[in-house]
């Protein structure tokens, strides 16, 4: 206790210590070429051994005692700049950094910048630049954000071509995928082969897997923070490409000296190309997808800036029976600098995911239409207070309104129309947080804080309670209002609802977060973290890969909030003047209230869906190794993960622990890019991962001539399908540039799955067509051969 008191007092003292006269420098760090902000750029004073990182808007603030300093500005891949500052008053210094060229790197040694991974308090974080994403050989030559994320340590997937990704044992719904701070509920085009993010409009991507700061909340396993470019503020430019799948065009530029914009669009044209080759049967079929991303930002004055950004994309597939799905998001943000120490950002967003399907060109007497949606809107103020060079305080909050329309269907049969909707569900999620990042002495920095989150479920009909045996369909017991829930004194009652509702359920969770960085020397550090995360949204999906028609549902009186606690420790070390970054991390994660499904659950149109859900626990642990080479002609990374992910759900696998469908013991990625000459650049990546678990039968029996599989131990995921491995290569040809020419083009030649391996996605069992008593095991490969592609990219 005494120790604790001393610690508290020293913390307080360090917070209020202001013996010397101090001044603050602040400003933005941007790229020279385009005026884009450099997120996470380092601003440091070497003589004091102190520094800060620019925030996601490129803003920094550094408070120092009066004096003269050499302030260095650095960022990976950019040439450092050092500015001498005579600090006797508060100053605003905006700094522009230029992209460094590899040739220069060979002789000039970069001083800082790349040390971020050792020095920052962040752990379990991976960042990828849009530039790097474009270098990775991709399926059909289409650079893809999500497919790049799959190459990072701790990330796995159920298989090729599936939607989303799994982080450290979490389901795909446990990733908060943010596009300019608006959540994207389905990040896939074409069932998961491509993602919705247009690489021409993306600035950078950051994946947070652990040590997640209190400013983030709402999902258990990761935050994928995708930031769009602001748009070139210096000159009008364009980028684009013609590929096998998409054609792309992005335009950006200044509108005036205070405003810039970017607009980027893509459309698949497989349908256009394929049309002449299709036989009559398929000529009427539709299959295309497109997206449009746009952003505008305006500097009102030195202290105020606004950003408006949006995304709209659709997938349309079918013939006769047509599916149509997509996301729409809109974000408005306002950056305000109160003074040199207090920075504020207020974000409001709208995000919608919906799908519909039905008969095309149908007779109104015999028709079928179906639609479902999740709509959310939010306001989120965040404050950063740069107290002094030892303490950076952040606090803020968020309120999100959700409107779930699980299903609205209408049938017409023989002229009689019947329509039915599943009752609407509404949610109100709020969170408040405070955190401080504190430097204690020369070696230790600590980030501590907490988030308090709350969810109010608002139902369109009275609360339902189910009862029954674990593993079986539960039956509706009562449909009465739970008086105690309804009348309980609720301090969150002040958050208004925008609608009337019949029932409510409230949950409040306290989420402590802690991260520690202990610097061993200039090039290495030890880091540790703990975080508790709570999730109030659930993606209801019982298929191997998630489908576009899977439902998002809120926490209710029956579905409890998901909770995960994670502990991670890591060792971070850089070699050769930061040419090589390495890290080793281990983690353990404990999950509560994980959703699973009864056998033959009806999740699609079920008024009593909650009776088909099971809940259980989960655990995941693993070790991740990461080596990254940032500079030179050869760049890239190697990531290796050894891990285990399990669930325990009463009613499944005789109530014993079983591995999840995305559990892969070993997971290796080698990503490399080699710049041979100005003209040629080569890239290759290799991935290897252990086979995923699958459930195989032991016995057969016959019912009505059908041979049925049976597992006499009622096991789940009792076998492994064979390992997955694949090599992809690409070569980029940039023809000799005509220096006077504004227009530059490049050709990208790529081969996916070079050695033509039939990687299994799954093994399933079926009766032989010719001989019904013979049963076969069938290996299903999503991509069963090598896939060559050529694309042409240009910029002007």
């Amino acid at each position: 206790m005494k120790k604790l008191n001393i610690l508290l007092i020293s913390v307080l003292l360090s917070l209020i210590s202001a013996a010397q006269e101090k001044f603050t420098i602040r400003g933005y760090v941007t790229m020279t070429e385009s005026g884009e902000e450099l997120i996470g750029a380092t601003v440091a004073v070497k003589s004091l051994g102190t520094g800060v990182s620019a925030n996601v808007y490129g803003f920094y603030s550094l408070t120092l005692p009066k004096g003269t300093y050499e302030v260095s500005y650095s960022f990976i891949g950019y040439t450092d700049k050092v500015k001498t500052v005579e600090l006797s008053y508060n100053q605003k210094i905006d700094m522009e950094l230029s992209e460094s060229v590899y040739e220069i790197n060979e002789v000039v040694i970069e001083a800082e910048g790349a040390e971020q991974n050792v020095k920052s308090i962040e752990m379990s974080v991976n960042k990828i630049d849009a530039k790097d994403i474009k270098k990775i050989p991709a399926l059909l030559g289409e650079a893809d954000v999500i497919k790049s994320v799959l190459l990072l340590p701790g990330v796995s997937t159920v298989g090729e071509g599936s939607t989303g990704f799994n982080v450290r044992g979490g389901g795909i719904d446990q990733n908060l995928v943010l596009l300019d701070e608006a959540p994207v509920y389905n990040s896939s085009h074409l069932f998961g082969f491509f993602s919705v993010f247009n690489p021409d409009a993306v600035k950078n991507v950051k994946l947070l897997k652990g040590g997640i700061a209190p400013e983030y909340g709402g999902r258990l396993s990761s935050i994928l923070d995708v930031r769009m470019k602001e748009g070139n503020s210096k000159k009008f430019t364009g980028t684009g490409g013609l590929g096998v799948i998409f054609s792309r065009l992005a335009l950006e530029g200044p509108i005036n000296n205070k405003t810039s914009f970017i607009v980027a669009g893509r459309r698949s044209y497989a349908d256009v190309l394929a049309k002449p080759f299709l036989n009559e049967d398929l000529r009427g079929s539709k299959f295309y997808f497109y997206d449009l991303t746009a952003k505008i930002n305006h500097r009102i004055n030195e202290n105020n800036r606004i950003f408006l950004s949006g995304y709209f994309g659709r997938d349309v597939f079918g013939s006769g029976f047509v599916f149509n799905w997509g996301n729409a998001t809109a974000t408005a943000r306002w950056n305000h600098i109160f003074n040199e120490k207090l920075f504020m950002n207020v974000t409001t967003f709208y995000s919608d995911y919906d799908y519909s399907f039905g008969l095309e060109d149908s007779d109104p007497d015999d028709d079928f239409k179906w639609s479902s949606s999740i709509v959310s809107g939010s306001i989120k103020p965040d404050f950063t207070y740069y107290l002094n060079n030892k303490n950076t305080i952040k606090f803020g909050g968020q309120i999100i309104y959700y409107d779930f329309k699980p299903a609205e269907a209408s049938f017409a049969s023989n002229g009689q129309i019947s329509s039915l909707s599943l009752p609407g569900k509404y949610g109100n999620e709020s969170g408040f947080y405070a955190q401080n990042e504190q430097k204690i002495g020369a070696r230790l920095s600590v980030l501590y804080g907490a988030r308090v989150s709350h969810f109010r479920y608002e139902g369109d009909r009275e609360q339902e309670y189910f009862e029954g045996e674990a593993g079986l369909r539960k039956v509706l017991k009562s449909e009465t209002l739970n008086e105690s829930t309804f009348h309980q004194v609720n301090i969150w009652g002040w958050i208004p609802s925008y609608r009337n509702y019949k029932s409510e359920t409230n949950y409040t969770n306290f989420e402590p977060r802690l991260a520690i960085n202990y610097s061993l020397n200039e090039t290495s550090s030890l880091k540790g973290s703990f975080n508790r995360m709570t999730q109030y949204l659930h993606l209801i999906s019982n298929t191997v890969a998630s489908t576009p028609v899977d439902l998002w549902l809120p926490t209710t009186n029956n579905i409890k909030p998901q909770i995960a606690d994670q502990v991670a420790v890591g060792y971070f070390k850089n070699f050769k003047q930061n040419k090589y970054e390495t890290s080793l991390e281990v983690y353990y994660k404990d999950f509560q209230n994980q959703i699973d499904y009864i056998d033959n659950a009806d999740i699609f149109f079920n008024t009593q869906l909650e009776g088909d859900l099971l809940t259980g626990d989960g655990r995941a642990y693993g070790l991740e190794l990461y080596v990254k080479k940032n500079q030179g002609k050869l760049t890239g990374w190697i990531s290796y993960t050894i891990s285990k992910t399990e669930r325990q759900v009463n009613g499944i696998n005789r109530d014993e622990w079983y591995p999840t469908r995305f559990d892969r013991a070993h997971n290796l990625s080698v990503v490399s890019s080699y710049e041979l000459t100005d003209k040629w650049n080569f890239s290759a990546n290799f991935v290897y991962s252990s086979g995923t678990p699958a459930t195989f039968p032991t016995n057969r029996y016959e019912i009505q001539g059908v041979v049925l599989p049976h597992n006499d131990k009622d096991a789940r995921n009792n076998y492994r399908i064979p390992d997955y491995h694949r090599l992809d290569i690409s070569a980029t040809l940039t023809p000799k540039k005509n220096k006077d020419r504004k227009f530059n083009g490049e050709w990208v030649f790529s081969v996916y799955n070079v050695y033509n391996r039939r990687n299994p996605f799954s093994i399933f069992f079926e009766q032989d067509d010719a001989e019904p008593r013979v049963t076969n095991a069938v290996r299903f490969s999503v991509i069963g051969n090598f896939v060559p592609a050529v694309s042409y990219n240009f910029n002007f």
Binding site: F411, D602, A694, D712, E766, G784
Partner: protein, 287 residues
Amino acid sequence: MRYILFAVFVALTFSSCEDIIELDLDNGKNQLVVDGFLNNESSIQTIRLTSSAPYFSNVATPSENFASVRLIGPNNLTYNFISNGNGNYEYNPNTLGAIDSIGFNYKLEIDYKGSAYTSTSLLNPVPVIDSMPYAFEPAGFGTEEGYYAQFYARDFGGRKDFYWIKPFRNGKPVYDDPTFMILSEDATFGGEAGDGLVFIEPLRAIITDQDNPFVLGDTSSVELHSLNSSAYQFLDQLVNSSGNDGLFAVPLSNIRSNIFDAAGNPQDEVLGLFSLSAISKFEVIIQ
């Protein structure tokens, strides 16, 4: 739903492939299997008892001939099912009458190797089939030229019903694949929107095989079998578990039997299903 999605997916997939592979599987214990589908007709009623076998045994599963099988009807009337030595246990309705008490919960009793098993099954009513219009149609969007028949029937309103639709062509099933069972919830595929409707158009039309429509002189007939909830759940899972492949497969899981122990509690010794149906029929000759 996932099948439709998968079909779309396959239609545009560039290179997915399926290969039959060799696989070593553990052999589990062999269990008694009840294949008991009875109906309200006056034809011979059969319950088939077999044993499960190793998954890749690839021959007919062994029959079980030494059980005692009986059905208890209204007023405790007992219908004995007599083994004919090849796994089939038969009852001839000419003796005690057809099993046709609509709304009655019949009870099946099986004694096997010293243990007693029971199951109950509710006999649900079945709507009449009003008509079966047919018409000649030229080849169209994914369809062949020929005669297309539909059946018209209206689901009972105000109650949950389940049906198994069995189409025939000249007395033989229209679809060869035994796993291609056409099941409906009320007049549609699922949910509650189909209550009291005429069977929806895709179900009405499914009695004609689009790849091989009827020709002049064919007899097109359809049987509508009522099911109860537990039989529907079983068959629905059976249909789902065959063809459960690709990206959108669900985990393979055992199908829960509706055969219980003597006290009526769930057991895991005996597999299979006991089901009772009422049948309505209609047939037309294409001319």
